[in-house]
Symmetry: C2
Subunit: 304 residues, 2 copies
DNA sequence: GTGTAGCGTTGCACTAATGCAACGTAAGAA
DNA sequence: TTCTTACGTTGCATTAGTGCAACGCTACAC
């Protein structure tokens, strides 16, 4: 007597699909074909289902299948289930294809140029109906006012019903145009070089604070725009602190430092780059498409 | 660029169950607990589902899950699906527990005694609420008139909306009571022994036809009841042809035959035993219980 | 700071599910 | 009869799915 001890097996939802296919097919093989599996699999799963329900659903003989009364009683309920399942699939498909329309991205200008712009080609290849608007600016755009769908920020936002993910962290480096860096050689004192730095309005920026704290130099140029600083540095106006990826992107090279300066350089700021959107927008396909691509392509391990 | 080539993956119905559990849980682990699987499994299957739907359903961070707009749109449809699935499970459960009531079995008397009766103890152990009525008789009971739920027959019924399965095949053997068999020794001619055989009414029975064709003997006793024949043989009245299992059951032993008789003996009839019921009754649990036990216990390989 | 706890994810060994091919049975054709 | 065909089932090698344990990340307590 080798009876089963555990009829505790939960009903697997896929078994209802199997059951329906069997109701509609005249043979096990035919049911398997509609399900895309082998007839042996159908046979075994039917046996398991019957054991789980402690009922015989179909009689099998050399002519194929014949439904028992139990199966015929169950069939209408199973078909309701299938209709609901089809509605679900249709709803899911409906969501899926809406990757079109305009996505507005707010981000710092350098991030726009260095991070976002290089990804646009791939984004449009993936989703031809997608359109993008980049709103660059140092100021913090208020997402809750719907000025943008997506924001890239260097500070983690706290308030609001927002979804936040950290993309990467970037170190800042002291760079200059190639000729100036060569002309300077190894920097022995901070004021041995002309500096380009931040204006009064954004003096709370990490780089500005570092300059204030560690290298009390008087910049030859101040600007609240990082892009202006980069342009000035590129023109050989002076040295400046910029995020490493931006330096590489614009052909600025690191300035060599004498050992005496390296301790202070160790506390150069580190930016973290956060991707932010409103919770309600997170699942909207056109937004999700950009979100996912940024996570996939722009995310990096923490630089320690 | 290792993108997926095949988003052709069909939606598995169980994934909707997973999706619902995730909607209701605040964490992956909680969803896994309600589903009875590990959190790692939930994590992987969610990733697969999102890839299949090409949609992000949940954002995951250190606090757990948060549903995206897509997930919230899908949730009501998924819950309808679940309700239908629960109705199915309830219907299946309802069927399952009805193994009780009376099952009427029509069969030849020897089959009743030899095959059915020995199984009753196990049947009642399995299904204590079950009751059985055995209607023994040589005549063919008409199942379509609902005189019986189940029939055991030696001829395959052709007409009607019946379900038929062959249980086993049995050879007939020439037997006698122990003392008579010893007294006879090896039989050299058919009429060296007194015969017990069928009456006129059932002369079409295989054994009667054989006797007519091969051994033109005049029986000392005729009866249309196999049970009477067996009783007579047991009392030492004569030799008779009976199905092999019945002979063993009633302590009758084979009569030894001289080589000259063996050729004719080779064409002793072979009965097949068929289990029959109406299609509509096949799935009724109390009937299915008996059907299944008979198939399981009484079915044998073909005796060739 | 530094540790701790909770979350989702990943590596790996293992189990269950699957496909393929061979089998046993039954009905009809030659 | 024998052969053929179609059916469901079973054995076995392979694959996909799973659980456990370790990991990385984040927040919070200290």
């Amino acid at each position: 007597m080798q009876r089963k001890k555990a009829p505790k097996e939960a009903l697997r939802w896929d078994d209802v699909r199997l059951f329906l296919a069997l109701c509609r097919a005249r043979t096990v093989g035919e049911a398997g074909r509609t399900l895309g599996v082998d007839s042996s699999t159908v046979s075994r799963r039917l046996n398991a289902l019957e054991e789980a329900l402690a009922t015989t659903l179909f009689d099998r003989n050399h002519e194929g299948l014949s439904a028992t009364k139990a199966a015929e009683d169950l069939r209408p309920v199973a078909e309701e289930t299938e209709e609901a399942m089809l509605r679900f699939a249709r709803a899911a498909d409906g969501l899926e294809r809406e990757v079109s329309g305009l996505v507005r991205i707010a981000c710092p200008p350098d991030v726009a140029n260095v991070v976002v712009t290089p990804l646009l080609r791939e984004l449009f290849t993936r989703h031809p109906a997608l359109r993008v608007e980049i709103a660059p600016g140092e100021a913090v755009i208020d997402l809750t006012r719907r000025e943008a769908d997506l924001a890239l920020r260097t500070v983690r936002p706290a308030q609001g019903d927002l979804v936040v993910t950290r993309l990467t962290s970037v170190r800042w480096v002291l760079v200059a145009a190639v000729e100036l860096a060569q002309g300077l050689g190894t920097l022995r004192a901070w004021d041995d070089a002309p500096w380009v730095s931040w204006g009064a309005r954004l003096s709370m920026v990490g780089a500005a604070k570092w300059l204030e704290a560690h290298a009390k130099v008087e910049p030859v140029l101040r600007s609240d725009s990082l892009m202006v600083q980069i342009a000035a540095a590129s023109a050989g106006v002076g040295v400046t602190l910029v995020p490493e990826p931006s330096a590489a992107h614009y052909g600025l090279v690191p300035v060599r430092l004498a050992p005496s300066l390296r301790a202070a350089a160790a506390s150069w700021p580190t930016d973290e780059l956060f991707l932010v959107t409103q919770r309600a927008l997170r699942g909207v396909p056109r937004v999700a498409a950009v979100w996912d691509l940024l996570r996939e392509r722009a995310a990096g391990r923490t630089a320690r």
